[in-house]
Amino acid sequence: MPSLPLFLSQLFNGLALGLLLALISAGLTVIYGTLGVLNLAHGALFMVGAYAGFVAMEHTGSFVLAMVGGMAGALIVGLLMERIIIRYFYQRPAEDQILVTFGIGIIITEAVRLGFGGISQRVAVPEWGQGITKLGFLFYPTYRIEVMVIVAVVLLLLYLILYRTRIGMIVRAGIEDSLMVNMLGINVYRVFLLVFGIGAMTAGFAGIINAPIVAVTPDMGEAILVQSFVVIVIGGVGSFPGAVVGGIIAGEIVSLTSMFNPAYSHVMLFAVMALLLAVRPQGLFGIEGRE
């Protein structure tokens, strides 16, 4: 049996992993919930955020500006995507949307590969994140602890925007009945653009804050896309609280399983998802029958 300190370490680590997954999944689920588009280019936006941040970092040397750059990069690419292509697909069948976003994802990934090559780029841990912090029972990288705090704050901000502001109310009304909202004199498509922008920006932000931890490469978004799908399936597709809770659950599954058998940690993630689909197909926070 693993020792108590190891168990507590992995429990904490699971929370750290989970929060990051939650942030990426939040963007994915908000776009799906609002626009009904399953954005398979979401992983590519995550990667664009990391690269845009990397470029900003190279030019300015400031990680704060890199974070701004990462968000801005993903926002710009996201908005262009929405305006040029995706908005013509809102009324098309789901298969068309999946194919077109998948295609966009490939184009973005390969364009970045063309520009930067396949070798990974380095984004250094910022000054304020270097070193290790002792948390009683474990030593944990300071930067990862800070990322947890930052992500928690961003998730809270997103929650406030979606649930406590007028814009958020319109967005949620748009989810329920976009025709009605339109007839009330609100330009629902502008709201949709805004939602897409917010989703892209969260993906980009997740990309750049994750960049000092993982290798920045053109296909870094692929694996994360798969995991965030698992997260939103567990949490309930289209549900913001579902993404947060699903993310943390996913992080804990990976982390705790690895104590017993590291090779099974990712298998367990899919096993839990399959089990949940059998017992509660709409996910933990999903509403039954909603598309």
Partner: protein
């Protein structure tokens, strides 16, 4: 009643089966004659086998390359392409460098120009198998090459053996590639788990001392498993103990869960078997978890570009092995030609991925020209003769029993950033271990080669 109908050998139409076969042979013979004398002569020299003689009809022969351009090993895959292209260009020009390996002096190989195609195998065996099947059936490839993952190398080797087409593994570190999964039609020139571990173990014992506790971080497939087995074998023989083995799936990006387990294992030495991007991620994160200060890291199979990707600060003092390192150019004239020309074309030093691709292509040209034909069994027998060949890593020869190249293994150590003479000067070669000293005994890993035809 017609007699014929009572004779079971006669068909309804009254033609004897033997007559029918005779007629068929006549038609086939006629077709063969009409297609020209040259073809008949070739067919008489050797029977048709695999893509022989269809693949050598024109003035060129086709070589199919399947390398990972996406996925965790894509940096190494791209570098392999550049190595193949360099070798093919030199062979086609009949350059001085090409003549060092393939001495017949003609442009191309046996006077045939080499043409090639490249497919992204995505580091996945099934994708590689599809790509290679196409090269063999549509392009009549006479040789197939390329791999970074041993899983891909083994699957590709099996397919090519079935199709009677020569396959050259590029990077493949598993003991199985020329062990239990060896093939009559495949060849491996790079060092591997056993030779790397046997070369490295005494060096790290000298450097780090006796009675060390070792934690392993191991990619969960044939390459990782066999490097783990070999490192465990040789380090335990010298009195070290194994405290944990963390298996991570290929392509893991977050290693925190494994690193926490290692941090809690009480190890003094971390043997990191991860390769490519997995190595980059795990080393970056090991440093962030403070492991690099608490334990010494050893990378038995050091991926090309690793030091560049994680930075020399993290790699200083790290021991590992490599297939090739560009400073060999300082002592070996052939290595100098290779490194200089590569740098002129690509603006950077070659990784060992480019080198192994180059070397395998040249050794293939050497075998084909030695055999004097592209007929696969003759080429394979030429390889199996095990003649000594002078190369840019010194003298090497093939072991006929398992198709493994007997070759030196280079043990390297990461330099301190202050002592680097140039931006690419990441490692010192601390020892060059001779091939025969580290090769496993014949049959040690259960190799049984199949039939030639």
């Amino acid at each position: 009643m017609n007699d014929d109908q009572n004779d079971p050998k006669k068909t309804r139409s009254g033609i004897d089966r033997r007559d029918f076969l005779k007629a068929g042979a006549g038609v086939a013979g006629g077709l063969l004659l009409s297609s020209g004398f040259g073809r008949l002569a070739l067919a008489a020299e050797h029977p048709a086998l695999g893509n022989y003689p269809a693949g050598i009809q024109g003035s060129s022969v086709f070589v199919g390359l399947s390398v990972p351009r996406t996925g965790p090993y894509s940096a190494q895959g791209e570098d392999e392409i550049k190595g193949y292209q360099l070798a093919i260009d030199h062979l086609n020009q009949g350059s001085e460098l090409a003549r060092a390996y393939a001495p017949d002096g003609k442009k191309g190989v046996l006077g045939k120009k080499i043409e090639h195609g490249v497919t992204d195998n995505q580091t996945k065996p099934n994708v590689a198998v599809q790509a290679i099947s196409k090269y063999i059936s549509d392009k009549k490839a006479m040789m197939v090459s390329g791999s970074v993952s041993s899983a891909v190398a083994i699957a590709s080797g099996k397919l090519c053996d079935r199709e009677k087409t020569i396959y050259l593994a590029a990077i493949s570190g598993s003991n199985d590639t020329t062990g239990k999964d060896c093939q009559r039609y495949s060849f491996r020139a790079c060092h591997f788990a056993y030779t790397a571990s046997k070369a490295l173990a005494p060096v790290i014992k000298n450097a780090l001392g006796p009675n060390k506790k070792v934690a392993y971080l191991t990619p969960d497939y044939t390459y990782g498993h066999t490097v783990y087995n070999s490192m465990k074998e040789f380090t335990e023989k010298q009195g070290w103990t194994t405290v944990t083995n963390q298996l991570s799936p290929l392509g893991t990006s977050d290693f925190s869960t494994y690193l926490l387990n290692i941090a809690n294992s009480g190890a003094d030495v971390l043997v990191n078997i991860c390769f490519g991007r997995d190595a980059v991620n795990s080393i970056k994160q090991a440093q962030q978890f403070g492991l690099m200060d608490r334990m010494t890291m050893v990378v038995p199979y050091m991926a090309p570009f690793l030091a560049q990707e994680v930075g020399p600060e993290l790699m200083q003092g790290v021991y590992g092995t490599t297939e090739f390192w560009w400073t060999l150019a300082e002592t070996n004239p052939l290595a100098k030609q290779f490194v200089d020309d590569f740098e002129k074309r690509n603006g950077r030093k070659p990784g060992w991925s480019a080198h192994i691709a180059f070397l395998q292509t040249m050794l293939w040209a050497n075998a084909v020209e030695g055999a004097g034909t592209f007929y696969p069994p003759s080429v394979i027998k030429e390889y199996e003769k095990g003649k000594h060949i002078n190369t840019d890593i010194g003298e090497v020869w093939w072991r006929g029993d398992d198709h493994q190249l007997v070759r030196p293994v280079f043990v390297i150590r990461g330099k301190k950033p202050k002592t680097m003479r140039s931006k690419d000067d990441y490692y010192d070669i601390v020892e060059s271990v001779a091939g025969p000293d580290v090769m496993p005994p014949k049959g040690h890993f259960g190799c049984k080669l199949g039939s030639y035809t």
